[in-house]
Symmetry: C2
Subunit: 365 residues, 2 copies
Amino acid sequence: MLIRTHAYAAIGPGSPLQPFELDRRRPGSHDVLIDILFCGVCHSDIHQARDEWGGAVFPMVPGHEIIGRVASIGDEVRRWTVGDTVGVGVFVDSCRECEACVAGEEQYCERGMSPTYNGYARDGTTPNHGGYSERIVVDESYVLSMPPGITLDAAAPLLCAGITTYSPIRHFGVRAGEQAAVVGLGGLGHMAVKFLEALGTQVTVLSHSPAKREDAIRLGADDFVVTSEADWLASCDGRFDFIIDTVSATHDYNSYLRALRRDGTMVLVGLPGPSPLEAGPLVNGRRRLAGSMIGGIRETQEMLDFCAEHQIASDIEVIPIQQINDAYERTLRSDVRYRFVIDIESLRGPDRRVAGPVADTAAAR
Amino acid sequence: MLIRTHAYAAIGPGSPLQPFELDRRRPGSHDVLIDILFCGVCHSDIHQARDEWGGAVFPMVPGHEIIGRVASIGDEVRRWTVGDTVGVGVFVDSCRECEACVAGEEQYCERGMSPTYNGYARDGTTPNHGGYSERIVVDESYVLSMPPGITLDAAAPLLCAGITTYSPIRHFGVRAGEQAAVVGLGGLGHMAVKFLEALGTQVTVLSHSPAKREDAIRLGADDFVVTSEADWLASCDGRFDFIIDTVSATHDYNSYLRALRRDGTMVLVGLPGPSPLEAGPLVNGRRRLAGSMIGGIRETQEMLDFCAEHQIASDIEVIPIQQINDAYERTLRSDVRYRFVIDIESLRGPDRRVAGPVADTAAAR
């Protein structure tokens, strides 16, 4: 018995998103059925819906910044109760046996994690579908708890934009009082500013766009440097202990690396195209260029708890799903401060309702 | 009173090295006058003598892998005694005040260290001249002690090739039992193999040249992979905790980065030209690409002591200085295993002798 679910999908590469119906699996003994409340719109949703990274699986229901409520649980689920407010991020399963999984770094699963969408379940053949949908069925171990006091719609982007920036900030040991910089002030960058500010670092935003100065300061930055000005490095040469580079367009790394102090680290969290790297800025100052990809389940929960404690969430614009194609265009023009979040209730209008209440058809027993 | 000193110099960019005379300064109260015994031939000597990095200072007496004996000392020198066997490496002074100098990382001096040659003393105007010469005057704080039991000619390359590879291996915390790889088996690479073997790692040499397999194993490598074979990465994907990349020619980094495990580090110690870097191998596995430049005085001494303890030295071919131009050509063709060392006695033949014994003219008091 499957669970008929309304959704929005890209039918093929680059086709506009459109209403779609899919069948969620009947929850197994360790599964949780989640009624989705909100889903963030990640820049990578657009890349994938347009097959810009290759190998995309269509039809594709994007969405991996999911907030919802537990509607039913499998027989052996002990961790969750019906009614719990929960989150689902970028992946919904992994091998659970490799060194990375055992270390709680499931995002680096050596056999490949199962993405929330645009990929397959562990059987390698069942396509996964994401959060632009009414509900989702996820193994209990890949579900996050939303701590009390967190604003649910603004929390959705934490599941990707949040953990993607939080994880390297913690992993590379950024400490209070250090000089930190954020390259790019978008969905990821604005979260990085908030985390770095909460950790007590001196935060500088490095941005091509002078228009973002006011926002950067409002978000918590101590300084703002316009990197489209030719002499920007004069005030930043050898200055930062840590730089998080959130830009996903292809760009030059060398000048940012020169802005690091001796033994400083710059971390890429986007996936820009190949860019000519000079050895000099690395060798002269023993600097490091690293990469980081989202975060594991344990660290994602830690990040959500940190956000609740520090009253951190994303700056968002809530849209009904019927506006998703326009939201994609605006995201591509950086015309959003800083993340679109879909109110999934918009999928549940009279013309979108499934036959029968969700909990009835979805119950695992 | 200056000290007339025979040497070999490049008179201009790319001119062959030829006999040359220079005046060493009269040793000051903190200086040490060193009669040079041996000087290693570093690949960077060739780059600089040919002004391939720009800004070279001519005439240039190269040489920064210097072994000698203390011939006289300044009034206030307490650290050294006439007759001590000592070494001089890549720099002979630094500001002594910046954070890097205070930390004992003089190679990263924020005001710029004073290189042993092809640069200036702290006054910014007096050109420094290197070890292709009979003697040199160096501040006592920038002189290294050669521990008993070390073979002097084979120790010369430790002052650059040795510390350049030892420092990142220690700084980035390589541990016994880990999987380590060395890219390129030349003057630097062969030292890296010896250090990594002595530290108890599993060492793999990654080389374009199948002909170097036997040598790699003889030097202590556990495995050898020919990277000019198309499928080399099949046996190395995600394998290494640490890679030291000693290649100075421009080359691709991306496939080597893929050979790192999660959280692995690759360190560049050469200065190759710009090369297109992909974000994927860094982001997927949280890998790091770093650089490292020689080492500080304290760590260089530690390295020399480590070499004495573990009976490590360079594999060398000793030449008279009259063969230096041929040695440069052979170095460029990688036709040396693994380092030329000049026997500076060859500068002291009857036609090279200075008037009067060295110690007489050079005494500081």
